[in-house]
Every structure is written in structure tokens, then in C-alpha cells.
């Protein structure tokens, strides 16, 4: 049980007595018990949080120089790049920050998939993570529209048109999203407003995600419940220092892209101002949407494609019940482990296909990969949990190191 400390400093004591926030931080950030065997894959949650802070910070300052109007948006971004003091730096951090954020979050998600972090009692924590991912995707999509280049415009056109696939209400939804009869000034204006709003909601959901985490504590590489004080260590200094080390590595990679390859993740076409009369010959979304874009295009029916694409993410909500195995960590699941790597490879294949034109052999490969994506989650995961004989689990987190071989 947690016993709050007695604060010696009179001012702190006075304040904490009225708003116990110092005690709260002491409880949740300092003495917070974390399993003692967390490996480096557990760094990515805190990295994602830091990436969000970096995005919000650079975004606020970019907004001070950005103009959300079809006649000025493109030029205001160029002005940020050329004339605003350190504008180039802020924009390149924000641009590449989006990619970094997605890399970190995707690793975080696959960490959860490998070690079974979505299983009881962490289902709500997992749901909140999916909500965060959806909010991120919406924010990233709308942010990409703001520079009002060719890819901004046509990306916005194609993605908003997805909603026209829904019967009866589809067209009305699209008009509502556009605020007109095509992607135009009202669309740009509202996307800017929402691009500013969504990260704030994201922030709130991240706190609820952390609340759910702290209620049930972290999963760990062995996937077994931590029992008693011997299995825990305090978050500070053990994991603050481990997270700080990981952060250093992360920032080095981040800085490499910002300073040496700032347009690596971007599309050159987005440096051409938006032209509603000319579609670029090869439209591709940003890399982090490519697997989903591949799923969309693999289904020959318009509505079917849209449903499959959204379904690919929404299906993760029921994953805790699709997985019938009681064992969390893939370390002790000899068959599931291989299917996990196959699933990861499948996602990479989908990403590759998403970047290719709509022609053979890519169409067929994309269809096979799409079928496998759903086959893995809907059939393989439930069946493997049923038939697989897991390896014996250790007694406790401490057992493998304290018992003699």
C-alpha cells in the first residue's frame, strides 16, 4: 500500500494540503511500482508521449505564422521556411515529428501484440490506445492538408470521398465535411481548426490511457502477473533513467532526419501549389497510411474497400476476445510467435503495395496480403490459442534469476 510522505518544506506542505498534486506525482512518477524486468521495448510509450509534446509545441508556434486560406496557405508555409526566424526548423521538426510519432506508436502497438499486453486485465487500456491511434491518424491527415500543395489537395479529395461510399447518407456527409461542393476554402479552414483541436483531445485520452495503465500496472516481457514487492522496482530512478537513455537515442535519429534528410518522408509534389483542375499522376498517402491504403485498394468494390480499411483498425477492439490463449507473452507461445512475425511481415508487404500503382502483380499481392491480415486476426489467433501448448511459465518474475539452474 502507498503511504504518502510528510512534506518538510512548509510551502509544499501548505500547497499539497489544498491540492494534493505533489503527493500524486510522488505516487505515480517516483515510487510508482514497475515490474523489474521491463526491456527496451517498454520505452516506446514514454517516447510517444514526448513525441506528442514536441508536435504540440512546434505546432503552436507554426500556427502563429500560418494562414488558413486557399490563396495564402501555400505561401505562408513558404514564408515560414524562408523568412520566419527558425521557421524552417520548426516546420521540419513538425513534419518529421509526425513520422517519428507514428514509428514510435507502431512499435508500441506491436510490442503490445507480441507480449499480449491487450489481454485481461488491460483491455480498456488497449481500447484507449486504439482511440489514440485513430485520433493521431485524423490529426495527421488534416495536418497534411494545411500546406495546400498538390498532395494536400488530392489527398484530402480522395480521403473525404471515401465517405461517399456509404449508401444514402454518403453524399451528404461529404458535403458536410467539405462545407461546399468540393475541397475548397471552407474545408481548409475547418481542417485547421480541427487539426488544432484533435491533439488536445489526444492529450486528454493519453492521460486516461495512463490512468488505466496505473490502475493495473505495466505488463512485462514474461507476461505473468508481478507478485509482491520483490517483483517491482520504483519508477524513479530505474525507469526514468532507462527512458531518458532511450530518449537520447530517439532524439539522435529524429535530429538526423530533421537536419540531413528533412524531406525523406515527404512527397515532392506537395511543393507544387494545389491545383483543383489537375490531378497528379501518382497519388500516394504518407507512409504511415500505406498499409491501410493497400487494403482499401485491394477490394474491388468501393464500399467494400472503405469498410475493409476502417475494419482493419476497428477489429483490434475485439482482439482481447479473439485471442483465446491465457498466456500473454509470445515468449512462451511457440506457435503464436511465428504467426506474430508473419503478421508483422504481412503489414510491411501491405505498406509496400500501398506505395505501388494499381497494376499487376501488385494488385494480386495486395489482395493476398489483405486476406491474410484478416485471416490472422479472425481465424489464426483464435485457433492457435486453442491448439497451442504453451511452454511452462516461470513461478514469478524473480524466479528465473533467483532459483538455481
Amino acid at each position: 500500500m502507498y503511504t504518502p510522505p510528510t512534506w518538510n518544506n512548509k510551502a509544499v506542505k501548505w500547497f499539497d494540503d489544498r491540492l494534493p498534486i505533489v503527493t500524486l506525482m510522488h505516487k505515480e512518477l517516483i515510487v510508482y511500482p514497475a515490474p523489474k524486468n521491463l526491456n527496451y521495448w517498454w520505452n516506446f510509450g514514454s517516447l510517444a508521449g514526448i513525441a506528442l509534446v514536441i508536435m504540440v509545441a512546434t505546432g503552436i508556434f507554426l500556427a502563429m505564422n500560418y494562414t488558413a486560406h486557399v490563396d495564402y496557405a501555400f505561401n505562408s508555409v513558404e514564408r515560414i521556411m524562408r523568412d520566419v526566424n527558425y521557421g524552417w526548423l520548426l516546420r521540419y521538426i513538425h513534419m518529421n515529428g509526425a513520422s517519428m510519432f507514428f514509428i514510435v506508436v507502431y512499435i508500441h502497438v506491436f510490442r503490445g501484440l507480441y507480449y499480449g499486453s491487450y489481454k485481461a486485465p488491460r483491455e480498456v487500456l488497449w481500447w484507449l490506445g486504439i482511440v489514440i491511434m485513430l485520433l493521431m491518424m485524423a490529426s495527421a491527415f488534416m495536418g497534411y492538408v494545411l500546406p495546400w500543395g498538390q498532395m494536400s489537395f488530392w489527398g484530402a479529395t480522395v480521403i473525404t470521398n471515401l465517405f461517399s461510399a456509404f449508401p444514402v447518407v454518403g453524399e451528404s456527409i461529404v458535403t458536410l465535411l467539405w462545407g461546399g461542393f468540393s475541397v475548397a476554402n471552407p474545408t481548409l479552414n475547418r481542417f485547421f481548426a480541427l487539426h488544432y483541436l484533435f491533439p488536445m483531445i489526444l492529450f486528454a485520452v493519453v492521460f486516461i490511457h495512463l490512468w488505466a495503465l496505473h490502475a493495473k500496472k505495466s505488463n512485462n516481457p514474461l507476461g505473468i502477473d508481478a507478485k509482491g514487492p520483490n517483483d517491482f522496482i520504483p519508477f524513479h530512478p530505474y525507469y526514468t533513467v532507462k527512458d531518458a537513455f532511450g530518449l537520447g537515442i530517439f532524439l539522435m535519429i529524429f535530429a538526423y532526419f530533421v537536419f540531413f534528410q528533412p524531406n525523406f518522408f515527404g512527397e515532392p509534389d506537395n511543393y507544387i501549389p494545389a491545383n483543383p483542375m489537375v490531378t497528379p499522376p501518382h497519388i500516394v498517402p504518407e507512409w504511415y497510411f500505406l498499409p491501410f491504403y493497400a487494403i482499401l485498394r485491394s477490394v474491388p468494390d468501393k464500399l467494400g474497400g472503405v469498410l475493409a480499411m476502417f475494419g482493419a483498425i476497428l477489429i483490434l477492439f475485439i482482439l482481447p476476445w479473439l485471442d483465446t490463449s491465457k498466456v500473454r507473452s509470445a515468449t512462451f507461445r511457440p506457435i503464436f510467435k511465428w504467426f506474430f512475425w508473419l503478421f508483422l511481415a504481412d503489414c510491411f508487404v501491405l505498406g509496400y503495395i500501398g506505395a505501388q500503382g494499381a497494376e499487376e502483380p501488385y494488385v494480386t499481392i495486395g489482395q493476398v496480403a489483405t486476406v491474410y491480415y484478416f485471416l490472422h486476426l479472425l481465424v489464426i489467433v483464435p485457433l492457435v490459442g486453442w491448439f497451442e501448448k504453451p511452454r511452462p511459465l516461470p513461478e514469478s518474475i524473480s524466479a528465473p534469476v533467483t532459483t538455481k539452474a
Binding site: 479529395t157 480522395v158 465535411l177 462545407g179 461542393f181 483542375m277 497519388i283
Partner: protein, 183 residues
């Protein structure tokens, strides 16, 4: 922690009257909230000035046989093609029953040589190629969408590829021999 207090004596009559009041109040609050949300959502739909930009007049006297022009209407391209005899012949010799979105060529034009339609692919909104001489025109001599490979014929009907519908016809009228009003 204190246990939650037992809020009310649960003698039948009083409790059910209280329940009725709670449900009634909640239902009214829900309806009121829904009504309050309405103007917010409605404000996202096209504004009066956007709707007011809804028509365009075009002089078509300079468009020769076999040529095409693209004009802007409601922020979208409108294709105006002065079709040749062969184009019209090709469009009218098709068995309508075989089409994905069955429509006769006669239903799609007001005057046979002039095909006027919105140049936005019905798949995901790209602009099909085929307006200029050098453009690919697809397998049916009309238009070809480069994004996901939809082919349209000389009447703008979908013939091949993922698009579900023909290129839409905007409302228009010939004001005189050389002027057409779109919208």
C-alpha cells in the same frame, strides 16, 4: 471510504414517482441537447455565399468539332466536349443493358454534339484525362482516370475500372446558340 448512502426510502409509490421524474427530465435534457447541437452541425454545411456561386455562363462558339474545354463550376471542373459524328455514333451503338450504370446517350445530352458533364471521377474524385489531344482516352475513346484506372466512353459512362457510376451531368441550359449556363 464511506459506503454509498441509501438515497431514498424505497416504498413503492414514492420511488416510482421519483423514477418517472428522473426519466422524464433525462429525456427532455437529451432532446434539448440534440436540438442545441443542430446549429453547430448545420454551420458546417455550405454557407449562403458558397451556394450563391452556383452558376456559370460559358461561351462555346469557339469550340470546334472534336474539341473540348474545361470550365470551373462550384470549384469542380466541367467538361464540355463538342463531339464528332463518330463519337456520337460510338456512344449510341452500345447495348445499354450491358452497362454498369445503364443510361442512354440521349438521356445524357440536350443537344447531340454537346456533352456537358462534371469531370470528377465517381470513384474517389480524381480528374480523368482525355480533354486534351495528347491525353490517354482509355479503351473506349472517352476519358481515363489515372488514379485507379477507370475508363469512360464518349458519353462519359463508366465502362471499366473501379468507379461505380457515370460521370454526372450538371444542371444546364442553352441560353442561345453559343451560350450555355451551368447550374
Amino acid at each position: 471510504m464511506a459506503e454509498a448512502e441509501n438515497t431514498a426510502p424505497t416504498t413503492g409509490g414514492e420511488s416510482s414517482r421519483r423514477d418517472f421524474l428522473i426519466y422524464g427530465t433525462s429525456a427532455l435534457a437529451a432532446v434539448g441537447t440534440a436540438l442545441a447541437v443542430w446549429p453547430f452541425i448545420s454551420s458546417m454545411n455550405p454557407a449562403a455565399d458558397t451556394l450563391a456561386l452556383a452558376s456559370t455562363e460559358v461561351d462555346i462558339s469557339a469550340v470546334e468539332d472534336g474539341q473540348a474545354i474545361t470550365v470551373v463550376w462550384r470549384g469542380k471542373p466541367v467538361f464540355i466536349r463538342h463531339r464528332t459524328e463518330e463519337n456520337i455514333e460510338a456512344a449510341r451503338s452500345v447495348d445499354v443493358a450491358e452497362l454498369r450504370d445503364p443510361q442512354t446517350d440521349e438521356d445524357r445530352v440536350k443537344e447531340a454534339p454537346w456533352l456537358i458533364m462534371i469531370g470528377v471521377c465517381t470513384h474517389l474524385g480524381c480528374i480523368p484525362l482525355g480533354q486534351k489531344d495528347g491525353d490517354p482516352k482509355g479503351d473506349f475513346g472517352g476519358w481515363f482516370c489515372p488514379c485507379h484506372g477507370s475508363h469512360y466512353d464518349t458519353s462519359g459512362r463508366i465502362r471499366k475500372g473501379p468507379a461505380p457510376l457515370n460521370l454526372p451531368i450538371p444542371p444546364y441550359a442553352f441560353l442561345d446558340d453559343t451560350t450555355v449556363k451551368i447550374g
